[in-house]
Every structure is written in C-alpha cells, then in structure tokens.
C-alpha cells in the first residue's frame, strides 16, 4: 500500500472511508463514547490528509479519473461498449478545490462538536449523520455521473435535514428542518426530472459523454431551467432563499458551518452543469445574465435583510445569502464572457474571483457561525439585545469573531478582500453598475458586523452569564478556520495561481473535462 496506490484510489477512498466510518460509529458508540469521539476525529483527519494529497496531485498534474468496479481505474469505457456505463468519478481542479473546502470545514466542525454537543442525547447518530454529510458533499463534488450526483444530493439533503432538527426540543428547529426537507425534496425531484429528460434523449448518464453529444434542444432547455432552479434553490440564491435563514439559524453551530459547505456543493453542481455539461452549446449571454441577476439580487436582498436582524445567527444566515451572490456574480460574469474574445483578459479573472470567494466564504462564514455558537454556548441566547460585554471573558472568541467579520467585509489583509477585489475589477468591464452594487453591499456588510461586534462583545460584562472561555475543542475548531483565513489573506497571489486558477481553468475548459473520460471531444 504505497503512495501511488493511495493517490490512484483516493477519489473512491475519500467516499468509502467516511461512509464506512459513518456505519461503524453507532457500533463504537455502544461500546465506548470516548472511543467514538476519537474515531470520528481520526477519520476526519485521515480524510483531510488524503484530500490534500489528492488536491496537490490534481493541481500540479492532471485530473484523476476513477471508474468504479472496472478492471483498471482509468478504463472508463468497457470493452463491450462505446460509451461510459460504469459510475465514473472525475476529480479535476474544481472538484479537488471543492473537496478541500468540504473536508476542512468538516474537520473544524468535528472538533467543535466534541464539546458543543457533549450534553445532548443521541450523539452516536449525530456523528453518523455528520460523516454522511461529508460523504454527500464529496460525492457531489467528485462524481462524473449525473444520476450519481442526484443520489449524493439526496444523501446530503437527508443527513442535513436530520441534523438541523437535532435539538428537536426547540420547536423552531423542527420547523427549520421541515422547511429544508420540503425545499430539498422539491429541488431533488426537479433534478431527477431533468436527468430523465436528458437520459430519454441521449441514453447517457455520464456527464462527459452527455456533454459530447448534447444539442441544446427544447427539452435540453427545459432540463437546464430545472437544474439551474433546483441548484440555485439549494444554494440559497434570492428569490429561493426563504429556507436559508430558518434552517441555518436553528441548526447546531457546527452543522450550520457544514450547511454552508453543503450549499456550496450545490453551487458547484450549478456551475458544473452550466460549464461542463452544457458549455458553449447553451446561450451563454442569456444564461450568464440570468446568473448575474440572481447574484445581484442575492447580494442586495441578503444584506438588506441582514441589517435589521436581532438574532445573531439569523443575521449571519442572511449574510450567507448575500455572499453567495458574490460567487454567482463572479462566475456568472465568466459564463457571460465564455467563448467571447474578452474571456482570457477579464472573464477568467472574474471566475477566479468567484471561485476564490467560495473557499474564502466557507472559511470565514464557517468561523462566524462557530463563534455565534460559542456565544450561544455561554449565554444561552441568540438575541443581540440580551448579550453584551463578552470580550471581557471570551478573549479567543472575540479575536476569532473580529477576524471573521473583517474578512467578510473585505478589509485587507484578510482573504475576503482578495477575492472581492478580483470580482470588482472584472465585473466593472461588463458593467460598472455591477461593481458599484458589489461594493455597496460590502459596506453594508461591514456596517452590520460592526453592530454585532458592538452589541455582543463591547460594553460592561454581563451579570447573569457564566464567565470564562469556551472549551478547548471548540477553540481548536475555530482556530483551524482562522489559520486558513490568515494564510489565504497573506498569500492571495500564491493561492490564486496554485489553487484557484486550476479550478477556474477546469471549469472553463470543457474539452478537457470531456476528453479525460469520453475520449477526444
């Protein structure tokens, strides 16, 4: 079992190991609780290490192809057939990039959960579902098969819905979970219907093989609309954002951080469908403008809804909607310019900005939700009017919150600045109004986080709260994300050229995606 073997099989291992661990967790839970905690953390660390190795190999080399059940992992097309039939995992730059986000956020959430859910019942099932969420996200990001994408979307949705309702004794938790459940089932049905439309026409489920023959017929257009609507709903873009604040607010804080990464997996699916499945066959100008419009709406509506909120997690949830808008704007501009002469000059920069923002957002929004959870852990309320002076007793949480808040507002030297600058500069070439709105939203974001900082951390110490810092494992969870924010903020140039550029390149170059699975385009 050497390194080469591990790298070749890593796409399958990354799905198999958390899945096996998820089923083993309830068994270990019956034997020993401490052993279960250690087991979950070790599995998450192993997943993170394998993911980093795989991502490094993909960024410096080429995409990894893995054919399930074949005699050889790269034998995508069986000898008796002309098209790929088996389930193919295709980890290109973009998939590896998203995988890094999922494993990192899960690791932070895993550490954080150790103390956060210590007093709850049914922890065995909590960790099972947490690992299943990781499986769902990684599966969605790695798969090259559109039906497999649907299966992992369902795995992810069901695990998330159950975890949102984990603290079922709060009535609103059940309500949020039910809302999420309804929205995800609706989205999943739309995806399934779209897959049916594509399969009926082309007899293919492999995305690369489909992309090779897709013609953009009327049925394909209907399928595209269904897919975009479903995935935009799942990533919480306005006007389909109504579930986001409800379910993000009531989920346990580590799960909210995971839900951010889960929404981004849906965002990834949206981009994958537009760029890799349809590519230049679709009307890039119209679809690009639609995605830009979704982005602008999400940005503006999200942030203006966030401003008056008094519930700290609800406020952050609306900011999550708003930040999703930046990603849609950046990548939408890239799609709008795809195939046009300007693509290489600033279309690519816009895509890099949008994609860089995905990882930045996962890090700082995950961190902010974890700090909100830390506040809830200590003062037992999410209402900003009922808290204050927490900086006196919670030094680490205060510092983490400040870093997260400055990063989300796009203040240099933190990572949010780097990606927002890329988006401002490139969107300006399409229309100056895009950049103006983006900057305005950024300023309102800063304003609302100044409000949160002031009402939660400043002022005299609270009288009726238990003093002191949160447990160590929660600090470790927050520190993992903070280190990422600081590193990405200090070396944005290195990150963009070594991590973000390969991801953007993988999305933009459809021929490469098709060629690696289904032969020459």
């Amino acid at each position: 079992m050497n390194v080469d073997w591990l790298l070749t099989h890593s796409p399958a291992l990354l799905i198999a190991i958390p899945l096996l661990a998820a089923f083993l967790t309830p068994v270990i839970d019956r034997i020993n609780k401490k052993a279960r905690d250690a087991f979950v953390i070790i599995v998450l660390i192993i997943a993170e290490i394998i993911m980093i190795a795989l991502a490094w190999d993909v960024f410096t080399g080429s995409a990894h192809i893995y054919t399930m059940g074949a005699s050889n992992p790269t034998a995508t097309i069986p000898s008796q057939a002309a098209v790929p039939i088996r389930i193919v995992l295709e980890v290109d730059g973009m998939g590896a990039f998203m995988g890094l986000i999922s494993t990192t956020v899960s690791l932070a959430a895993g550490f954080y959960s150790l103390a956060f859910v210590k007093k709850e019942t049914g922890q065995g099932r909590y960790y099972t579902l947490l690992l299943l969420m990781l499986v769902g996200m990684l599966g969605m990001e790695f798969t090259g098969d559109i039906f497999n994408l649907f299966v992992f979307l369902e795995v992810l949705s069901m695990a998330s819905a159950a975890l949102i309702a984990y603290r079922f004794y709060y009535g609103d938790a059940v309500e949020g979970a039910f809302k999420y459940c309804v929205v995800s089932s609706l989205g999943a049905l739309m995806v399934l219907f779209a897959i049916g439309l594509l399969y009926g026409q082309y007899d293919l489920l492999n995305m690369a093989a489909l992309a090779k023959v897709i013609e953009y017929t009327t049925l394909d257009k209907i399928a595209l609309v269904l897919l975009i609507a479903a995935f935009a709903m799942k990533c919480g873009a306005v006007p389909m954002h109504m579930w986001t604040p409800d379910s993000y607010t009531v989920a346990p804080a580590p799960i909210t951080a995971m839900l951010v990464a889960a929404s981004q997996a849906s965002l990834y699916a949206l981009f994958r469908i537009c760029f890799s499945l349809y590519g230049l066959t679709l009307d890039v100008t119209t679809v690009g403008i639609i995605i830009i419009a979704l982005g602008l709406l999400s940005m503006f509506v999200g942030v203006t809804m966030a401003l008056p909120q008094k519930d700290i997690k609800r406020l952050m949830s609306y900011h999550a909607v708003s930040q999703t808008g930046y990603m849609l704007l950046g990548v939408g501009v890239g799609l709008y310019l795809l195939g046009k002469s300007d693509f290489d000059t600033y279309g690519m920069a816009a895509m890099e900005g949008g994609i860089f923002h995905i990882i930045n957002h996962a890090l700082y929004k995950g961190l902010l939700f974890l700090t909100a959870g830390a506040i809830f852990y200590k003062v037992k309320t999410r209402n900003l009017n009922e808290m204050g002076g927490l900086a006196h007793s919670m030094k680490f949480t205060t510092i983490f919150f400040m870093i997260g808040a400055l990063a989300i507002a796009g203040i240099p030297p933190f990572n949010g600045f780097a990606s927002k600058l890329l988006i401002y500069e490139s969107a300006y070439h399409v229309s100056p109004i895009l950049s103006i709105i983006a900057m305005l939203v950024s300023i309102i974001t800063l304003a609302s986080f100044v409000k949160v900082f002031h009402s939660a951390f400043m002022g005299p110490p609270m009288e009726n709260a238990e003093a002191g810092e949160v447990p160590k494992s929660m600090i470790i969870g927050m520190a993992i994300l903070t280190v990422g924010i600081i590193l990405f903020g200090l070396f944005p140039g290195w990150v963009v050229s070594n991590i973000v550029h390969p991801a953007a390149q993988a999305l933009a170059a459809q021929a490469g995606y098709i060629g690696s699975v289904a032969g020459g385009a």
């Binding site: 099989h9 399958a12 291992l13 198999a16 899945l19 096996l20 998820a22 089923f23 083993l24 309830p26 068994v27 019956r30 893995y66 054919t67 399930m68 059940g69 074949a70 005699s71 050889n72 992992p73």
Partner: protein, 162 residues
C-alpha cells in the same frame, strides 16, 4: 403461547396475536426470498427489506409497541442496520484488495455466486451475480433494521402522547 400473549393488555385481541405470530415466519421467508432473488427477478434488497420490516410492523400493531420493544428494541434494530451498512461498504472495499478497483465484482468465477450464466433465456440460475446478492443482503438488513426502528420509534412516541 396463549399465556404469553394474554399476559399483556396492550395490542389487539388474542386471535390477532396468535395469527400474526403464526404468519410472521412466512412473511420473513418471503422477504428472504425477494432479497435472495434480487439479482434475478424484480425486487431486491430494498423491496425484500421493506417486506421484512412490514412483518415487524405487523407485530407492533398486534402486540403493541412496548411489548415489541422488549423483544426487538430500537437499539437492537439500529445495530442490525449498522451491521448491514458496514457489510455493504466492506464488500465494496474488498474490491480494492481482491481486484483492481472499489466495488469490483471480485466473486465472478469463484464458488460463491460466481457462476457465469449461459447466453440466452434461462429459468434463473441462483448461483450467479458475484457480489450483487451479498450487497442485496446488506441492503436488506439495513432496510429491515432502519424501517422497523423508525416505525417502532414513532409508535412509542405516539403511545406517550395518550
């Protein structure tokens, strides 16, 4: 048997209890049959598992949730489910070791389910399919455990409301 079934006041009348006790093994055998022939006929792990779970649901209805819980508690059913899931993924992982890739059908050609059926129609040769029958069993275990645990939990909760 009559003493045992009359012992609790929960559930339906003794006639229903005795009859459902008698047909329970037959439903389980049918469930086993559907799972076993999953790779040959319509049905398979999920369908057979749902039949098996329906047998346990019948016991819950006939004998009452509390009585059923004593014999097959939610914990036990969940453990059964976990074992099914673990078996599935272990067989898939064995593909790495026995053959080239994850989920390779490494049993083809071996003595267990390894027979390669002749070309053309046949009445259904059971000893075929490689790892598929084993995966069907794993799914069946998972569905029996999971589905009946869900129904049992709901039955217990609704009892508490009364």
């Amino acid at each position: 048997m009559s003493e045992k079934t009359n012992g609790n006041s929960e559930g339906l009348s003794p006639i229903v209890k005795v009859i459902s006790g008698m047909i329970f093994p037959f439903i389980m055998i049918f469930s086993f049959y559907v799972i076993m022939h999953g790779h040959l006929t319509p049905g398979g792990g999920f369908q057979g598992g749902a039949i098996g779970a329906s047998a346990i649901v019948m016991l819950i209805v006939a004998f009452g949730a509390r009585h059923t819980e004593k014999r097959a508690g939610e914990e036990k059913l969940s453990l059964f489910e976990s074992i099914g899931g673990t078996l599935f993924i272990l067989v898939a992982i064995l593909g790495f070791i026995m053959a080239a890739t994850f989920m390779s059908n490494f049993l083809v050609g071996s003595a267990i389910f390894g027979e390669i059926p002749p070309f053309g129609s046949n009445p259904g040769i059971l000893n075929t399919g490689g790892i598929l029958p084993i995966l069907n069993f794993a799914v069946g275990m998972k569905v029996i455990g999971g589905l009946s645990a869900v129904v049992l939990a709901m039955a217990l909760v609704s009892k508490e409301d009364d």
